[in-house]
Symmetry: C2
Subunit: 218 residues, 2 copies
């Protein structure tokens, strides 16, 4: 592995290597923008699984929330190899030829062995990280976890030292011979937006939507 880089023989992007990035700035930005990743692991029977899970980077690790994937975490918690992939879809690349159609995307692949967080203070820090990922300001507003709830929380940490980003941006890569065709070409951007908050039917009528949910990120 190169010093200061997350590039290893396993993370090196082999196909279209110009799309590969190994700097933490690129990797961290993608992890910060996506909420959910897919955690891959191999079961006892040799069957691979990919399970969606909330993720949050804390320092030089990605922390993965386990409430939706106890099977995942039981397996990964034994210290078996895992892969966390986090993908953002930015747009559809419409080429003049069917063959050159593509997708603009930013993806991070983290390889490594996950360790379970066992220290209650760290688990509390992880719950704070997840809450603040979902909506900055939420941690201070909602009821804090009890000791029992912290105990019931499973968090896995995956180190970031073997990671790669793969990024495609920009217009289609049509062949020169196709440029004269009478076909529109370009990119249709994709964006994920947050809609108007929908109150819980059991919400007490006097409680207003907090500002941090009305204007996320501001």
């Amino acid at each position: 592995m190169e010093a200061g880089s997350t590039k290893t023989k396993r993370t090196r992007v082999r196909r279209l290597p110009k799309r590969g990035h190994y700097d933490r700035e690129t990797i961290d930005a993608i992890l910060a923008e996506a909420l959910v990743g897919h955690l891959a692991f191999t079961g006892d029977d040799g069957q691979p699984y990919a399970i969606p899970t909330l993720q949050a980077r804390v320092g030089d690790e990605v922390w993965v929330h386990g409430s939706s994937a106890s099977r995942t975490l039981r397996a990964v918690g034994q210290g078996i190899p895992a892969c966390l992939t986090v993908t953002l879809i930015d747009g559809l690349v419409m080429a003049r030829s069917i063959f050159n159609h593509s997708v603009n995307y930013r993806a991070v692949v983290v390889l490594g062995t996950a360790r379970p967080l066992t220290d209650p203070e760290q688990k509390l820090a992880a719950l704070e990280a997840f809450a603040e990922r979902i909506a900055p300001g939420r941690w201070a507003d909602a009821r804090p976890p009890t000791d029992q709830e912290i105990k019931a929380t499973s968090i896995m940490a995956l180190p970031l030292d073997e990671a790669s980003a793969k990024v495609r941006t920009g217009p289609p890569g049509d062949e020169d011979d196709d440029l004269a065709l009478d076909v529109w070409a370009g990119v249709v951007p994709f964006e994920t937006v947050r809609g108007e908050p929908v109150p819980d039917p059991r919400l007490r009528p006097s409680i207003e939507v907090p500002d941090y949910l009305r204007n996320p990120g501001t």
Copy 2:
């Protein structure tokens, strides 16, 4: 496996089983709405990988496009076990307690052994399926693939007979004791929208954005 169902010992949703669905109607609708899935497989060295890839259901199979994942396809094409997971994020579930925060989502997990498509007619059908997934109407408009381009296309087919869907919908599941808290609770919906098409800088000026890109799905 039950008749008419995709439920097996491996696909049965063990945690929160009320979220599990095994009917093809639920599974097919999720596959139809998502463009990209994550294909998991185990490398020769025992390292699992999850690779993002375009997916399209055709009949009783999911077809996975290989242009972005040749390493994936070389491995999976040998007939090793694979898992395709397709996830839609529908909203953030804001509970009164930190512990009960959640995500509304719809996910499909397909387990099986993938086979490569080798018949050029089938590969052509797959390219049509992918183009029409991206933008209905595109197939008839863009330049069709040449024999050489079809040869250069890798498509894998994964049968749908071992698949499950997992769905969370609705408001937060707060404890009764928390309902009196002065904390807003509900769901912040997520939606992926298509933005205004951005023309290729090399686009000839007379070519207008086609209607099927301006008004997707109509």
